[in-house]
């Protein structure tokens, strides 16, 4: 009887851990969306055959590499760095610098460093990717969104600005919406559905 009580107590502890892990994702994202500062990240074309994966649109961003002064610190080239954020003259997000150490203040994002270029003339580059790289859609809308996104994100032929509004707080970034030429992509999907026979 005593052992079954211990098992039940342990089960409650395990259940709380499971809930905490799941709820932590929820709380952190919800809090970021409610209190984070919005930044507009310009998207860039992705492989048109790989853009749509089931129920989400795969996103790629213009901000994806930065020059690195001097030698790239090999020993600290861990996969998690920080990108310090700012805005350019047009109001779009711009990564000012990358740092392996968590910045003390200002807006920054945790990014994953993916590769580095080391050349003899010291023109080194660090490539990175953001944690947000997908935008989920309802199944019925997703194929239309894919078409709109692809039409406006062609290699060498981008005709309208596409960008994602991302709320940023404490290194966490959560996508709020995806825009094509200042219109949310969901609205475009609805109008595309109405206009289609």
């Amino acid at each position: 009887m005593k052992s079954s009580r211990i098992v039940l107590a342990l089960f409650v502890v395990v259940a709380l851990v499971q809930l905490t892990v799941a709820a932590n994702h929820l709380w952190r994202s919800e809090w970021t969306l409610r209190t984070g500062k919005p930044y507009k990240f310009r998207t860039r074309p992705v492989d048109p055959y790989d853009a749509f994966r089931g129920r989400y649109v795969a996103l790629a961003f213009e901000q994806c590499e930065l020059p690195w002064e001097g030698e790239v610190p090999r020993e600290s080239f861990v996969d998690s760095w920080y990108a310090v954020l700012s805005e350019d003259a047009n109001g779009f997000a711009k990564v000012l610098r990358l740092t392996p150490v968590r910045p003390e203040g200002g807006d920054f994002l945790r990014v994953k460093t993916t590769s580095m270029t080391i050349s003899p003339d010291k023109s080194n580059f660090v490539r990175y990717s953001f944690s947000f790289d997908r935008f989920y859609m309802e199944e019925r809308k997703a194929p239309k969104v894919e078409r709109i996104y692809r039409d406006n994100n062609r290699w060498g032929g981008t005709n309208r600005t596409t960008y994602a509004v991302v709320r940023v707080r404490n290194g966490v970034g959560v996508i709020e919406d995806l825009f094509v030429g200042d219109k949310p992509i969901r609205e475009l999907a609805v109008s595309a559905r109405r206009s289609s026979p």
Partner: protein
């Protein structure tokens, strides 16, 4: 057949024996004649468990599909709370099973499966609601680790099996991240106490057997993931898989030696079949040629942990082989010696003796096949003779395909081998009939 009178008879038997009315030998014969009256009950019990698991899996899967539909009509926080609902419901069911002290296998397995699926679905749905990127390996890692305690606390086998499959998928998905996939082994280690708990009373019970079957299969896959660089660059697969399958074979022979059916021999079957297939592949010259041509030892710069694990299996196999040799378990020794031959073959191939290595394995497979046939004939066991003949036939057919012979020659070979099988079986069956 109505089992009630048999149950009554079984209740009476001990009294009848003790009072001298029925001799103990006769009582035993009666038991043998009627069999276990609860066998049918036990079958029904397992059927209920099976349906509970299927039901839980279907409900869990259905909830995931319904929610994955991504209802945009609902507000974001509502969707997020709904994402947590299956997890909370499954946890409440789990707590209820433990609170009531319910020992029903069906309930424990069903609720355990539901909870395991609910953990994954909740995390995935929250990620979807908030467009969280995250990587597939990270998701698998979190899911499997959070689900493992369910197996222990609910004493449910299916969550343990899902865990083993999950860590294998995780290990495969981090193959390009250096030596990370080697964490497969410590992660598998976390499930071993569960195996010990279930096998402690009766290792031939379906629970430990199921875990052993899955473990022996995912172990072979995970070993390949962990050592993929050695496999690619040094063609180490001959030695690694030779060692792993030999270890499985010897572990199985040692701890499941009294098994009465194929189902009760997970390690022997996976290990033995693995050794057979591997040995037959190595009777061809091509794999050895690949070693001669492609292995470049200048690139010996990999993580020492990767090499330690890649070497651990052949070393373990040799240690188990020595232990079997000390116990005079001669039937295990021949097949268990395969990794040593793989090392010799590898050394030969590196020194441009690829044909000699292939010949070595042809001789080895022939010796194993003949030894099996001889041992089967000696003990009058048709199964062993057939196994030996199957291996011998496979070897002959491999050489036939190698020799690029015409259809007629191959056809005749098939007929001869088939006739050999039939005659041997007929002769042995007749002999057995006469003996009985």
């Amino acid at each position: 057949m109505d089992k009630r009178p048999i149950r009554w008879l079984y209740q009476e038997l001990p009294t009848l024996v003790s009072s001298g009315i029925v001799p103990a030998e006769v009582a035993e014969r009666i038991r043998k004649h009627y069999g276990e009256p609860d066998a049918e009950e036990s079958g029904r019990h397992w059927l209920i468990t099976l349906f509970a698991i299927i039901g839980a899996a279907l409900i869990g899967g259905g909830i995931i599909l319904l929610l994955a539909h991504n209802w945009e009509e609902l507000s974001r926080p509502v969707r997020a709370m709904i994402s947590l609902a299956p997890l909370i419901a499954a946890q409440a069911l789990g707590a209820w099973v433990l609170w009531t002290g319910n020992e029903s296998t069906a309930r424990r397995e069903g609720v355990g499966t539901f909870l395991t699926l609910a953990i994954g679905s909740s995390i995935a749905l929250i990620a979807q609601t908030y467009n969280l990127g995250g990587t597939f390996p990270d998701f698998m890692f979190t899911w499997t680790l959070l689900a493992l305690p369910v197996a222990y606390l609910l004493r449910a086998t299916l969550p343990a099996l899902l865990y083993l499959v999950g860590v294998t998928i995780w290990s495969g998905s981090v193959m390009d991240e250096g030596a990370k996939s080697l964490w497969f082994w410590p992660l598998v280690g976390l499930a071993l106490p569960y195996l010990w708990m279930t096998a402690r009373e009766n290792r031939y019970h379906p629970r430990p057997l199921l875990v052993c079957w899955v473990l022996s299969i995912v172990g072979a896959i995970g070993a390949g993931f962990g050592a993929h660089r050695q496999l690619n660059e040094f063609s180490w697969w001959t030695v690694l898989f030779g060692g792993l399958f030999a270890a499985w074979w010897l572990i199985g022979s040692r701890w499941y030696g009294e098994a009465t059916s194929v189902w009760q021999r997970p390690f022997q079957i996976v290990g033995g079949l693995g050794l057979w297939v591997l040995s037959l592949v190595l009777t061809f010259a091509d794999p050895w040629k690949e070693i001669t041509q492609h292995v470049w030892w200048g690139g010996w710069h990999h993580n020492s942990a990767e090499w330690a694990v890649a070497l651990a299996w052949p070393v373990a196999a040799v240690a188990l082989w020595v232990a079997a040799w000390r116990r005079h378990e001669t039937s295990e020794l021949l097949l268990g010696a395969m990794p040593v031959l793989a090392v010799i073959g590898h050394a030969m191939a590196v020194h441009d003796m690829e044909l000699a290595a292939a010949v070595l394995f042809n001789v080895y497979v022939l010796v194993v096949a003949v030894a099996l046939i001889a041992s089967g004939a000696k003990s009058q066991r048709l199964g062993i003779i057939n196994a030996g003949m199957l291996l011998l036939s496979a070897l002959i057919l491999c050489r036939f395909f190698d020799a690029d012979l015409g259809f007629v020659a191959r056809g005749i070979a098939f007929i001869l081998i088939g006739t050999g099988f039939l005659i041997t079986n007929l002769v042995l069956l007749r002999r057995k009939g006469v003996a009985q």
